[in-house]
Amino acid sequence: MAEEQDRPEPDVLLEEAKKEGRGRLKVFLGAYPGVGKTYSMLEAAQARRREGLDVVVAVVETHGRKETERLLHGLDVVPRKQIGYRGRVFGEMDIDALLQRKPRLAIVDELAHSNVEGSRHVKRWQDVEELLAAGIDVYTTLNIQHLESLNDVVARISRVRVRETLPDKVLELADEIELIDLPPDDLIQRLREGKVYVRDQIGRAIRHFFSKGNLTAFRELAMRVAAERVDAQMINFMRTHAIPGPWPAQERLLVCINESPMSKQLVRTARRMAERSRIPWIVVNAQTPHHESLPDAAKDRIADALRLAESLGGEVVTLPAESDLAGELIRLARSRNVTRIVLGRPRKRHWAALFRENVAGRLMKEAKAFEVTIVSPVAEDGPGQRIDPERPGGIRFDRKAYGWATVTVAVATAIAFGVEKVLPLPNISLVFMTAVLFVATRFGLWPSLYTCLVSFLTYNYFFTVPYFTLSVSYRGELLTIVFFLVVAVLAGNLAARLKAQVEAMRTTAQRTANLFDFSRRIVAAASLYDVLWAAVHHVASTLQCQAIILLPKRCHGLEIAAGYPPEDHLSSTDRAAADWAWKHGATSGWGSGTLPAAGWQFLPLKTQRGLVGVLGISFKDNSPDKVRLEPEQHRLLNALVDQVAVAIERTNLATDIEEARVLTETEQLRSALLSSVSHDLRTPLVSIIGSATTLSSRGGKLSDDDRDQLVQTILEEGERLNRFVQNLLDMTRLGYGALQLNREWTDLREIAGRAVRRLEKLLQFHRLELDVPADLPSIRVDPVLIEQVLVNLLDNSAKYAPRDSRIMLRARQVDNTIATEVCDEGPGIPPDARDAVFEVFYRVRAGDRQAAGTGLGLSICRGLVEAHGGRIVARAGPADRGTVIEFTLPLEPAPPIQDETKETKDMKDREKRE
């Protein structure tokens, strides 16, 4: 165990690494307004400026105080961005101007401020995050009251619930916290002197808010926060530097919330507890069968609480629990190694609570291994949070169900009457039982209970003595019907629960089937386009919305890659939201903290390698206010988004693999070229340098013949080197597509003659036969290149054909081409190699037991011939011996020479005259 802790924890190191390149955030923290945070911040800013740093004021509220204003002198102020809203103009921080200006340090007052609608982000702290990400340091101010997790405590102390809250994680972003402290007495003095500007609409409660007791409490809170922060930094430091410390055991905290209004308070409390002990925490919402039947307000409360939990850093789990709520919770707790459970005490105790299990009670009884904490609700929930007392279970009066229930009972009664003769009394109850079960399975719990009651009364009325009264004479019969009622209620309850469970399972199965279907379709999609289309189609049909996917363009920016229904156009706000989501890898648009006015919500498509695109969804019918995703829908959407991201990455990877393969092939060719060049360039040089040095050292002592031979060697090898260099050049030009054909009308015989003359020395040991008629039609080719083709072919033949054997160069017209052959009596090319022989470096791959020379010659021939629109093949010679390489060149009709006839005529006339 101890050794494990000797290494710095990777998560912490990662956090540290992420901090590289980010700006540093210093928070001037105050316990209450009026301590002088802005003043201290500006003092610090001035100090930095005197040190030579580039300091810029992004936004500062002086509230007209002269001392504060004086501190602004000399500091650059970036003008605020004017945003109009509801006829008024508000000045908010201009992020873009700041990003462009890129100061070393930016001064941002009031970190918890909410931006006016129309700004890029909802909250100023999000703006600050952008600045930090761009590497700009920030000084900012903050009051304790604005911290999310302290919201309840503050409310309790001051009876005022502060609205503008800041998620605690923002404070954790801070690299430095300076606590601006002012003893309460001094503050009250300043208040009297009118030196404090009070905002937050405290209004009438001001005197109460600033009572000495409150101020002291706040001061303590502020100090505690600062201390906790210091503590956290210390532990971070220890973790980064692998200093073993008394780490708390890996405990975990589980907090259970439901639709009760105190769920948010529970979340905050749980967070504080978890933070204090520095353990991870989980928020669980158990969805019982009657979750579906909750009013919307209740569902919203749950969703809000879950979102709050996520923003505070907790893990959110939704637990489907059909009946055994406590049992499910305990099971979850055990599986996640939870050591502490936090619950809320229900506010009222309903009679219905008897039927519903007391989760807390059960937990305390059964969960012996857990610490169970019951939290009482805050006495007052603050203004504006009154909720209608809801009936437990949320009874919905479904007229139809009760109508059917009544009908069922009537039918049962009729049947019972019919059966009465046959069955004894107690057994008639079975008929009514059937009715109850029927109604339970069809219509749920409450209709079934209603049916129980009605059946009971009917049973009593019609079938017990005295008939047609509600009184019962016989004790036995009384017991019967009482037992009937009891059994009916239980059975009805069970059946109803079963129905609910089946419903829940069906929904889950549907969801799973949806995801499975989606993944199957995505996997089958081969091309990127198919993947995108399948994705948007599926998302749109599942969530009943519009879906689009944006992918990055090659250079910069995003473009719409797919949409269902097809969408080409995004408003500028939507575009900005999409760009923001792409740049920051976070959700934007409605329902998020950034550009919530957009009509679309954009989710980044993230994989381990990074961002591959952005998915947008929009409910065009509903206004953005009403639109919200259920937590389950949200989770489904997230799952889909992950799958889409992976699928897109898969297609990208496939493309990458292909490119890498091509690259590898190119690399192989290049290395083969290098080895060939190195060998074939050096070989002639060996002879040249060798011969030259011999001549130089022993020149006078060599015989004339020897001297001549050495000189000849130098000459021949020099020419050979020249040919090789030419091959390389041609190869390069062919490879780069830089081959330019300078076509002119020419005769093949002339080209053949030049080629033969160039290789004169090389061909001296063979018998060359030239069979190219002079009257072959002229061809329009590049004479230099075709000469090179012949040179390479003759070179090849000379290399492989034995001495004194024949080498033939033959050309003839075949239909509308000129077919040229170079034949030799060498060893020939095996049939399976006749195609491969034209590939680059074929010889190299075949091994180097063959004669020296590059493997480039034939491939160059093919390149040059094909560039002229011709073809080249290798064949066996006559009697299957030797090699014939034949290439064809297309004939073009020669341009007419009009003057010829006239010329001839003139000439003839002139000659006649002479």
Partner: protein, 233 residues
Amino acid sequence: MSDPGPRILIVDDEPQIRKFLRISLSAHGYDIVEAIRGRDGIDKCATEQPDLVVLDLGLPDIDGQEVIDRIREWSEVPIVVLSVRAGEAEKVAALDRGANDYVTKPFGIAELLARVRAALRTHKGTAAEQLSEIVTGELRIDLARHQVEVAGETVKLSRKEFDILRLLALNAGRIVTHQHMLREVWGPAHEQEVHYLRVYVGHLRQKLGDDSANPRFILNEPGVGYRLLVPEE
């Protein structure tokens, strides 16, 4: 001793090339002057008054073509350029600007010497109008009577064919560009009709009994022009 032969100015930035040119050309009796850069070459052309300039087109300071231009502004000294293979356009440009001939690198010294001799001969020779007869090897051209003999045998040529042969013979051993030939024989309007030229040359060769695969008289240099071969002593 014998007089120093004609003076040749070598303009090339490669010391090894200058060395072997100096050695071989001196061995053949020429007086050598060297220049390393183009500007230097232009200056030396004025100060040293060479009889011929061997100019490398690939100079570091200024383009070889420009050197030709500058020299041609005030001098008609023969210029033989050194160019690379597949630089046909470059060769034609040089010739159009006033160069007299070229050799393709890498070259054998015999080739260069032939070009040098041909260039000097034509220059030193009497004006074309004063010639009545040209004899090269087995070829004998009577300019006055428009008669051509090959190894003693008279050959009948059409007007155009004769003009072509005359032009080549007057520049015997030197390259004559297609455009120049077309201009001279057909007129400036026909400068681009190289295929005409080819057909006529083909006929001419046939009549002269010249094998295009192994020419004795007329050598085609693709992309550039024609040359009447001169047998070397």
